[in-house]
Structure formats: structure tokens, C-alpha cells
Subunit: 258 residues, 2 copies
């Protein structure tokens, strides 16, 4: 048995998220079916994390165990030949047996895209949250700075999650504005369920003036889910990077200081 | 009866083109159904032109006759409420009775998008033609200049078309390069069936060195369909503008001179 590692991109628009389901197409379901067919053995994969319905990935990572019956380069080619148009595997390699897509990860970057035009745009809707309000970038940026650091992020976890340890570290949180959208990019050692979306929801409420930037620490420390109730939809969210190597992560984070 | 004019955008990915069909979803079919429902009368619409399966529109124009049973502003709102996520109406207005989306048009602009990365990108595939080859922009630009003018464009019409008058004027043809793609933008008084795609096919063949720029006139004048056989797919094509007013068209064309 060998341990195989995949990096892949997907447009999540037409999937009920990552996790295998019997009734609806999911990314895990489609990948396992393709791998099982190509490798002629039952394959079960582990992703670096689950993505919800409509959420996209620019760099999702996967590991699985298999008897590799073809050269690893051929597996990449064969997979891309049978995968649907909205999933593409960029890398396939053999990794040490103790490597695990989820447990070996030391950090992750997510992006969240928002457009604020008054009119809906059918070319942006599947890939952005449509939030037709004027946003104040300066106050959003000062709010974002308050999220950097190590906190108990219980306020920023979807209700009903059972995770015990809710302390997470956020290393970096950037805002880029383009002609058509606002792009929030956040890097941390890990994220609770819905944490990125709820954080962006709070920042958008700062952007429209509903919350002041200096209330952020208070909201985090309140550990009161009712103080951060706005969860923007999945279609604006992208899993952008998974880090397995502390040095690469540090280099990315320290770029910020320049 | 009044004549109503609509401007709309659509992501054509999930449609079998413009023209109404019984078996598959089309843009015309979806719009007529929505209008018939809202206006409580059988509505038949005319588009400025038909788009093929997978082709997009940034600015398609439509006219139809109806007894308007609600204010025109409400019709825009009501339509957008029931149309699917990939179609959006930007403008609804009452126009003179002799105005016709197709016959009143004096020119059109189309865009065609191509990306050339070696690896497929699931976020670009529905909106670009994936042509993984190195392109020479300078030779493409000099080829493109040869298309400007009035010619019998029979070579650049899909085989089997029955159009009699195959003379068309191209006013302007631009190439823009972005980080991720090449965007061809072409404006003319009208286009034959598949003409934009076949012209872009020839230009891409120039870009990879299969055809020299100074062969273009020869190919157009040959009136030999076999000399321009490459028709890139519909998913890279966008109907970008329809002009109803010669002055607006002239202003756009003469910008080129600056």
C-alpha cells in the first residue's frame, strides 16, 4: 500500500459540498468514484478539510492509501480525463505513509469574494457574495487587524458544532479591492466550522457601519454566538492554500511585514 | 399593444443557446415563459440575434409586443425575481412600435476569451476556450488588421448557412492580454453564422505560426470554406454590445484612432 497525495481545484457551484452523500453529487464522492474506477480497488480519501455546498477550492489537498497500479504521472492524466469539467487535479505524488492531508496540515488560507454593485451580475453570482451596500474599506481594515492573534474563537463557530478546543491562531488577514469585487484573504493554523464566513460577516457589518472596529475584541471575548450571527453564503468562499511546511507558512505570513 | 425593449446579461453555460426548443432549456424559452407568466398573455420575443449553446451575453437586446399590465419599472423587478441565477435583466423600457431588436440594430460587438495555460482551470473553462499553446501577439495583431473593412465574408460562414448576402463590414478588432487570458473584441455591422468564432480560429492559427498574417486577405478573397475550417467552441464567446444608434457606434469605433 502506498500513500498518494493530490492537489486539486474545483468550482463548487454544482456540488453539495465535500463530504460523500448517497443522494447528491459531492466532491469527495466524485473523486472516490473516479479513483476506484481507475485503480480497480475501493478508494476512500481524506481531504484537508470539508467544504460546504457551493464553496470552491483553488488548492484542496487529499491523501489516500492504494496499491498503485500505474505510474503516478499517468494517474494525474487519467484522472483529469474522466473528472467533470469543474474539477481538475494539478498534482499527484507518492508521500511518506505517515503523511495525512488533514492531520499533517499546519495552516490554511481562505479567500472570500464580495461584490457590491446594486444590480446582480450573472457572471459573478456563483463566485461571489452579492452584498449591494457601500463598504468603508478603512474601517474594515482596522476591524480585520483585531482578528490577528490567538483567541478562543467560540463566538465564530456555527451553532451546534461539537468541537471542544475552540482556540485558533490567525496569522494574517488582507483586503484587496478590484474593479469588480472585495477579496478578503485570511490565514490561520486552522478554522472552526463556518469561522471564516462568520468573521467576514462581522467585517461586512463593520463596513456598513453596524459595528465599530473597536468592538471586535469585545465580540470575540464575549463567547456569545448571538453577537456574530451573520454568516454570508458559501458561494463566495475559496479554500486557497493548505500548508504542510511551517517554513512556507512563515514566509507567507512575514511577507505581510514588508 | 406596446413594444417593450429589454437589455439582459446571461451566462450561457447551462443553456442550449438562444432559440426556443421543446426539449432543452434555452434563453428565449426561459424568458418567454417568465414574461408569459408575469404578463398573463402569450409572449413571443425577438432577440438581436441568436446565440449558440454555451455562448454568453453581456448585453443581449430583446423586443416584444404586449399589453403592459404593470408599470415598466415593476416588470424589471418582477422578472429578475423569477429568472434563474444565470440570467439578469438590466433594462426594461417602452419603445416606438417600429423598433425591432434585430432589424433596428446598426452594429454589434462580440468578445472572445482564450486562455493558454498548459493545465486546465475549472474556473476558466466555462468562460474561455482552453488553447494550451504559445501565442505570438504581434503577428495576431497584424493579422487582425486585415479583417477591418468591407468584404464578402463567405469563407467565414458556417457550412450549410443559407444567407444570400455575405458581405459584412468590420469596423474594429482589438486584442487585450490579461494575466489569465487573451480577449479578442470585434465590432461590425453584422456577423454571419459562426463568423466571429471562425475569424478568431484563423487568428489563433496565426498566433501559433500555422498561417502568416499576410495570407489573411487571400483567405477571405478565396471564398473557400476549407481555408478557414477551425471553429473554436462557443463557451469563449460573448455578445458584448448591440448598437441601435449610428453615432454611439461611430464614437466607439473612432476611439480606436486615439
Amino acid at each position: 500500500m502506498q500513500t498518494i497525495f493530490l492537489r486539486l481545484k474545483y468550482d463548487g457551484s454544482h456540488y453539495r459540498g465535500w463530504q460523500r452523500q448517497n443522494s447528491s453529487p459531492t466532491i469527495q464522492g466524485v473523486l472516490e468514484k473516479a479513483l476506484t474506477k481507475l485503480l480497480k480497488q475501493e478508494i476512500t480519501i481524506d481531504g484537508s478539510g470539508r467544504t460546504d455546498a457551493g464553496v470552491h477550492a483553488l488548492d484542496q489537498c487529499v491523501t489516500f492509501k492504494a496499491h498503485l497500479i500505474m505510474p503516478v504521472e499517468n494517474l494525474k492524466f487519467a484522472l483529469n480525463k474522466i473528472l467533470p469539467i469543474d474539477i481538475y487535479v494539478n498534482e499527484v505524488q507518492i508521500v511518506p505513509n505517515d503523511f495525512h492531508a488533514r492531520y499533517s496540515a499546519v495552516g490554511k488560507t481562505y479567500a472570500y469574494k464580495v461584490y457590491t454593485d446594486y444590480e446582480r451580475n450573472p457572471f459573478l453570482d456563483r463566485y461571489h457574495f452579492h452584498f449591494p451596500h457601500k463598504l468603508d474599506s478603512e474601517s474594515m481594515k482596522s476591524a480585520m487587524a483585531h482578528f490577528i492573534g490567538t483567541y478562543d474563537y467560540r463566538t465564530y463557530m456555527a451553532s451546534g458544532s461539537s468541537t471542544k478546543n475552540t482556540t485558533r491562531t490567525i496569522y494574517r488577514f488582507d483586503l484587496d479591492e478590484t474593479d469588480e469585487s472585495y477579496v478578503f484573504t485570511i490565514t490561520g493554523n486552522g478554522f472552526l466550522y463556518n469561522m471564516v464566513r462568520i468573521i467576514v460577516g462581522t467585517v461586512l457589518h463593520v463596513g456598513v457601519g453596524k459595528i465599530a472596529p473597536d468592538q471586535i475584541l469585545d465580540i470575540i471575548e464575549s463567547k456569545d454566538r448571538n453577537r456574530a450571527k451573520f454568516t454570508p453564503p458559501g458561494n463566495g468562499l475559496y479554500l486557497k492554500n493548505v500548508y504542510y511546511d511551517a517554513q512556507t507558512l512563515n514566509e507567507f505570513v512575514s511577507e505581510m511585514m514588508k
